[in-house]
Symmetry: C2
Subunit: 243 residues, 2 copies
């Protein structure tokens, strides 16, 4: 499993991904699930991945190879004119990998289970955020639901659901996303630190604000403790239920 979140806000985008992959409980490793393609001053694209690691790595490699290959037929992540086209490029890459590996996976009783969050900005457009499915089709985040989650999404959803507001500062939204991760990490062993974070400010066309939150990160520890304490206080301040 995995947990990844993308948020689309007035001031930009926030991305976060855990780094745990596992084949069974006794085969655990750390792999980056947050991938960035940047053409400074012109576009930034961020892809978060969940599911079968062989498949997600193949998709990411394909997307990267297309950028330098002279035989790529359609647009690439660097030549797509809009984020919608870029989402199509990712969808096509997923379909290509399925065409190559899908049948063999099926005969090994492995499912072609993958999902992606794609977000970013291409000059001429506002930032956009998509979720790409294993079939290569996708949906786009709108004002009604400005976030996308993939992987183990249930534990961390209530906090996003109640607190996310489109006019939040990115640092505030990142805090919220980390709280959502903390709830998930406490409950699901298949989601693990470190967490990769990327904050993208609208119209900067640069992916400079990236950080890996390690297990002993003092901010994350403070956040987790403060949050538990404040929840306890908040619960105690609301009148008790009486029968």
């Amino acid at each position: 499993m995995t947990y990844c979140v993308g948020l689309k806000l007035d001031r930009g985008l926030v991305f976060a991904a855990d780094t745990r992959t596992n084949a069974g409980l006794d085969n655990v490793a750390t792999f980056k699930k947050l991938h960035v393609w940047e053409k400074r001053g012109e576009r930034v694209l961020v892809l978060l991945s969940a599911g079968n690691l062989a498949v997600t790595q193949a998709v990411v490699s394909l997307l990267s190879e297309q950028l330098t290959s002279e035989t790529t037929p359609g647009p690439t992540l660097f030549s797509a004119e809009t984020m919608f086209q870029a989402a199509r490029v990712v969808g096509s890459a997923v379909r290509s990998v399925k065409a190559i590996d899908g049948e063999a996976l099926a005969t090994s009783a492995e499912n072609f289970m993958v999902s992606f969050i794609l977000g970013g900005q291409i000059k001429g457009e506002a930032p956009r955020l998509f979720q790409v499915y294993a079939a290569g089709n996708f949906i786009e985040a709108t004002a009604d639901t400005p976030y996308m989650q993939i992987g183990e999404h249930k534990y961390g959803k209530p906090i996003l659901d109640r607190v996310t507001q489109h006019d939040m500062r990115l640092g505030q939204a990142a805090k919220l996303v980390l709280l959502s991760f903390d709830s998930t990490l406490r409950s699901n062993l298949s989601v693990g630190m470190p967490i990769d974070l990327l904050l993208y400010n609208t119209d900067t066309f640069a992916a400079d604000r990236q950080k890996r939150i390690e297990r002993d990160d003092p901010y994350f520890s403070m956040l987790s403790e403060e949050w538990s304490e404040r929840l306890r206080i908040a619960v105690s301040e609301i009148p008790d239920f009486e029968i």
Copy 2:
């Protein structure tokens, strides 16, 4: 789906169950999933059920019929001398129903999917809380994890996880359980109001504190709104994340 919670605290037990059952999205009904057997002054037993409604109803009917039947071989919920024995009675009832219906369910591609939370107190013992599986075996709640959840448990777990304390008052714990339900109701259509609640105070041997929380319950509405507001304040008070 379903969502049920049982909590074991120093002062007693708290039980809550939603009432939605559904066969597909377009066939929704209300059924009670919180069942009480009381021998006033001597024992109170509470059973929460999740899973296939035909199976859970059969188990509950069997447990009730045993109380008046003269041919019941082993102990019943009223003659069991300990809660451990009572959990065995429930487990046996599950196995009996499986023996009768299991094969037919399997041939209809239906799983024998059920789970139960059993809690209560029998004179001579402290209150105890169990989770009974579809196989009829069970586990007991201990101080390390004083709550049990069945059904759609993920959305509502983080709040229980962080705030539950063994020395809470029952009304405070009920508030916490209702918050856990609110998070779940917001995210999963298969969990629905009304919610049945039962608070059991240690050594009372009476099941008097029961209430059904309806959709328009003023306390529940207040709780949900206050909670969202306080979470927003709590998030805003913790320092923002900075890169």
